[in-house]
């Protein structure tokens, strides 16, 4: 019984053993993430710059082709495809800023930080919402085309929907617009979203719930339902174009599942952690950061690949592109500077096997 109780030792003058007493029971220590940060410094700018280049070129081409064709937007799908290209182009414009900020710190001040973050957030959400719109448009087009032949849908309604989507996206970007700030940490300035400390836990919980329900479940539900119904309709349909249309649907769904779903799920798990105030160990927290980083890069890649998946696979786009590249003529030679003769359904440039029911949704 000659030793003092542990409690007293730990409060005594420092002897070298005190910390042993304390580190025997794990005390929460700072979680160093130097390895994740090193990976992020290499991964983030390279992905960001590649996606920016792809996105600027692809979406720029989509918009340029549309402007050059000077065609009034006909179907809701084509209207939403244009808006999708616009959203992705805006997103791609913000990416070089993000890459520069990740590489050498944010040097453009708080106002620019807010503007760029707001634009990034708004265009990211707009892209996601327009994808859901396109899936709905396509289902409606197919469902209409099948029993009683295609009926023209009001183009005005597509514009109203587009306006609502942009308004919603701006609303969703409000936190980024309001609360982004350029803060200093360990000698580097960063542009990041910092919620004011006054926000209570219930408010944070409510906002996280809104994010999960409206940002994840709703678009995913719309897309899943529309493409499932569409697939079923196509499987029941007959005709030479069926296989091609099915292939496009499968490609779209696969791309969405591979590119967007992992990030949405990672975000969902992260939000669940935040809501449950769950404590993770340092290695688990690093794994989570790594998962968010990699899946976030994939989700970003979606904006560079959208033109390929949605516009380039379409017939009318390919015709217009051909026309744009050949300086306004359909074929070199026989038609001198004339625009390609365009009957209401398909132009003479398209393959004869591709028929109306495909072109009505596969722009």
């Amino acid at each position: 019984m000659g030793t003092e109780p542990a409690e007293q030792v730990s409060w005594g003058p420092y002897s070298g053993e005190d910390e042993e007493v304390y580190s025997a029971e794990p005390l929460p220590e700072l979680c160093y993430k130097a390895d994740v940060q090193a990976f992020s410094r290499a991964f983030q700018p390279s992905v960001t710059l590649v996606v920016a280049a792809l996105g600027l070129a692809g979406n720029g081409l989509v918009l340029a082709t549309h402007l050059a064709a000077r065609r009034a937007v006909r179907s809701p799908t084509s209207a939403h495809l244009l808006q999708l290209a616009l959203a992705d182009l805006l997103l791609a414009l913000t990416l070089p800023f993000a890459a520069a900020g990740a590489l050498q710190g944010w040097s453009l001040g708080s106002a620019t930080c807010r503007a760029i973050s707001g634009l990034y957030s708004a265009s990211f959400h707009a892209g996601f919402l327009f994808l859901a719109c396109i899936s709905a448009d396509r289902y409606v087009a197919i469902a209409r085309a099948l029993p009683a032949g295609p009926r023209p849908s009001a183009p005005g309604r597509a514009h109203v929907v587009s306006a609502i989507v942009w308004l919603l996206s701006l609303l969703l970007a409000l936190p980024a617009l309001l609360f982004s700030q350029d803060g200093q940490r360990e000698g580097q300035r960063r542009c990041r979203l910092v919620f004011p400390e006054g926000l209570t836990q219930t408010v944070k919980g409510a906002s996280a719930m809104a994010q999960v329900v409206l940002g994840f479940a709703l678009p995913l539900g719309v897309m899943a339902a529309c493409y499932a119904l569409l697939g079923r309709t196509l499987l029941a349909a007959r005709g030479p174009e069926r296989r091609r249309a099915l292939r496009v649907v499968v490609a779209l769904v696969a791309a969405f599942v591979v590119l967007q779903l992992p990030y949405s799920l990672a975000l969902l798990l992260d939000t669940a952690d935040l809501l449950a105030a769950r404590e993770r160990s340092c290695p688990a927290s690093k794994r989570k950061d790594l998962a968010l980083l990699v899946t976030g890069g994939l989700a970003l890649a979606r904006c560079g690949l959208n033109p390929v998946l949605y516009a380039f696979l379409g017939l009318r786009f390919r015709q217009d592109l051909r026309r744009l590249l050949r300086g306004g003529s359909c074929r070199p030679g026989p038609h001198p500077r004339g625009r390609c003769p365009r009957p209401p359904r398909l132009s003479s440039c398209s393959a004869p096997t591709e028929t109306h029911s495909v072109s009505s949704w596969d722009y």
Binding site: L30, Q44, V47, S207, A210, C282, L293, G296, G297
Partner: protein, 100 residues
């Protein structure tokens, strides 16, 4: 009426949306994942710094560097933490006076 109220509620919730950070993912900052509720003896602490929400951390904390170089996480709103911080500040002021 009920659907209108629901729409307004949904919109006001949407305003508080937390969107993905610029660059695709959140920064992996060095942060405290939790804080100790058991007081740390002040005499094993050599230095302190704050890692707050504005630094990109979810759990605001005071980080105490111990004599052995461990970085312990403490809650910023506890009186025992304030006491240690005051003592460290007093000590560093004393050292500066000695140094000059």
């Amino acid at each position: 009426m009920a659907s209108q109220a629901a729409a307004i509620l949904a919109l006001s919730l949407l305003i508080l949306w937390t969107s993905p950070a610029l660059g695709g993912a959140n920064d992996a900052e060095d942060c405290c994942l939790s804080v100790t509720q058991r007081p740390i003896p002040g005499n094993i602490v050599r230095a302190f710094r704050h890692l707050l929400i504005k630094d990109g951390c979810r759990v605001p904390a005071v980080v105490f560097t111990t004599l052995r170089g461990h970085q312990l996480c403490a809650p910023p709103d506890q009186p025992w933490v304030d006491r240690i911080i005051r003592r460290l500040q007093k000590n560093s002021a004393k050292n500066k006076r000695h140094g000059s």
